[in-house]
């Protein structure tokens, strides 16, 4: 239990302070690509310095340490109640140490008790698997980028978006246009086509567990991902919405079955401060491997 708590605390610390390698590579590539001397290039340079500084000082990359989202692949027999309790203790201690901001507010009273614990905080998604290891992935998703997420119900008459992939393309690009720089771009899109209003958004966030450089195994979705990425980067929104060549760093799209009456496209936006890490744990809760 103590080992598990300490492992999860280290997972939180590293997620908050260190950008994963795949995202770092994409930001460095963007920095090369952006025209030097512009405010867009200056913004990317500040972003790069920030990434280096946060890692060196072991402090949060962004002060909005976000919603704390645990995705747990658990072997059959894992005590999920005990796991969740250890995770809550880790969140409380990580907050005390400043890895997380006091970031959780009672929705009714507005009270922030400073622990980051409460209904839905943190959030757990448990999935059983028939393997001996426990794998824990963590996303810290800030509010600025969460606020620019969007859900469309197709057909959308105003956007002339039908219930097909061309319609999906239109609404996803509309989400990019509406977001501008407000979600701290350059951003990454997680998209779910299908599902219901709750599962659609939920599965759009699961896309953020994919590595940035991976390719979608479904050819039609892969083509759509590449198309949206290319087109978004031709819009001139740029880092922070300052104008420039880099609007998105990646697009990840998944699908869920829908009922015939509904056709939702749910778009989640992740800021450049893409805080996502994961660990594999042994039976005692010790870290055996980092996943990103």
């Amino acid at each position: 239990m103590i080992a598990l708590r300490d492992s999860l605390m280290e997972l939180i610390r590293r997620t908050s302070a260190e950008i994963p390698d795949d995202v770092q590579a994409a930001i460095l590539a963007a920095l090369e690509h952006e025209q030097q001397g512009t405010i867009a290039a200056d913004a990317l340079q500040i972003i790069q310095r920030n990434i280096e500084l946060a890692k060196r000082k072991s402090q949060p990359i962004c002060q909005d340490t976000g919603s704390v989202l645990f995705y747990v692949d658990a072997p059959v027999g894992l005590d999920q109640l005990a796991f969740a309790e250890a995770a809550r203790q880790a969140v409380r201690e990580a907050t005390r140490r400043g890895y997380l901001r006091q970031n959780s507010v009672d929705a009714l009273t507005g009270k922030n008790d400073g622990t980051n614990l409460g209904p839905g905080a943190p959030t757990f998604h448990f999935h059983q698997h028939r393997e001996p290891e426990t794998r824990v992935r963590l996303i810290l998703k800030g509010g600025g980028c969460e606020n620019v997420g969007a859900q469309y119900s197709l057909p959308d008459e105003q956007l002339q978006a039908d219930r097909d992939l061309a319609g999906c393309r239109k609404v996803i690009l509309d989400a990019v246009l509406q977001a501008q720089g407000k979600g701290c771009g350059p951003g990454i899109l997680g998209v779910c086509i299908g599902g219901d209003r709750a599962t659609g958004y939920e599965f759009s966030k699961v896309q953020f567990l994919r590595r940035l450089e991976d390719r979608n195994p479904v050819p039609a979705l892969d083509a759509l991902e590449q198309d949206i990425l290319k087109t978004a980067n031709e819009l001139g929104i740029g880092p922070m919405g300052f104008g420039g060549k880099t609007t998105l760093l990646g697009v990840k799209i998944g699908t869920l079955n829908r009922v015939p009456a509904s056709y939702f496209v749910s778009v989640s936006y992740m800021c450049w401060a893409y805080r996502r890490q994961g660990v594999e744990l042994d039976a005692e809760g010790r870290i055996t491997r980092w996943l990103y």
Binding site: Q59, P60, G114, L173, G181, T231, E234, L235, I237, G241
Partner: protein, 192 residues
């Protein structure tokens, strides 16, 4: 080269700025976000010790901890999304003589009009750059409304040195956000 601004900022210095200018601010910043803006807009008074005349409000909910000696230490201090303060910002600029607002994502027509009227600018800091920006905070001079609003929502008084930002809404009615939106909307229409 960035334009250097020192608080309190004069109206002339603010009117000389135009969108796209990089600036560096030295002096005092007061943080204020959702709770503070709503409170002030509903007629709330500034606490003793907080004077915003010629001053700059920073839309920021910092991570601040107490070190072993009991001194405040800023751990992370990047900007938060400014659009949420759009209903309140214009009135606050007028009522308290504020010359600048730092945030991210830009603001709307009401704030732009108030900037033009009173002589104020909107300054965009790099969102998410909490560590780089915290390095420019030299000292925490005080904190107000900590109990009432909680740490991220409190008014923190920061002494800053060469704090970097970009003018994205100036005192002449220009908004970089409006321009980029219009250009990107046209670019998208050509690609649908």
């Amino acid at each position: 080269m960035p334009i250097l601004l020192t608080t309190p900022v004069s109206e002339a210095a603010v009117r000389a700025l135009k969108i796209g200018d990089a600036v560096e601010i030295t002096g005092t910043l007061f943080t204020g976000r959702d709770a503070v803006h709503k409170y002030l807009a509903k007629g709330g008074q500034l606490p003793p010790g907080v004077d915003l005349r010629g001053g700059i409000i920073y839309h920021c909910g910092p991570v601040v901890i107490k070190d072993e000696a009991g001194r405040w230490k800023v751990v992370a201090a990047g900007p938060t999304t400014s659009a949420r303060e759009e209903p309140y910002q214009g009135d606050i600029l007028r009522r308290f003589g504020v010359r600048g607002v730092i945030g991210k994502g830009g603001m709307g027509a009401k704030t732009l009009a108030a900037c033009r009227e009173v002589g104020a600018v909107y300054l965009h800091a790099v969102g998410g750059a909490a560590q780089v920006l915290a390095e420019h905070v030299r000292n925490v001079r005080g904190v107000y409304f900590l109990e009432e609003f909680g740490s991220p929502e409190a008014i923190w008084e920061f002494e800053v040195e060469r704090f970097p930002a970009v003018v994205t809404m100036d005192a002449h009615g220009h908004s970089l956000h409006e321009q980029v939106f219009a250009a990107s909307q046209a670019a998208l229409a050509a690609r649908l």
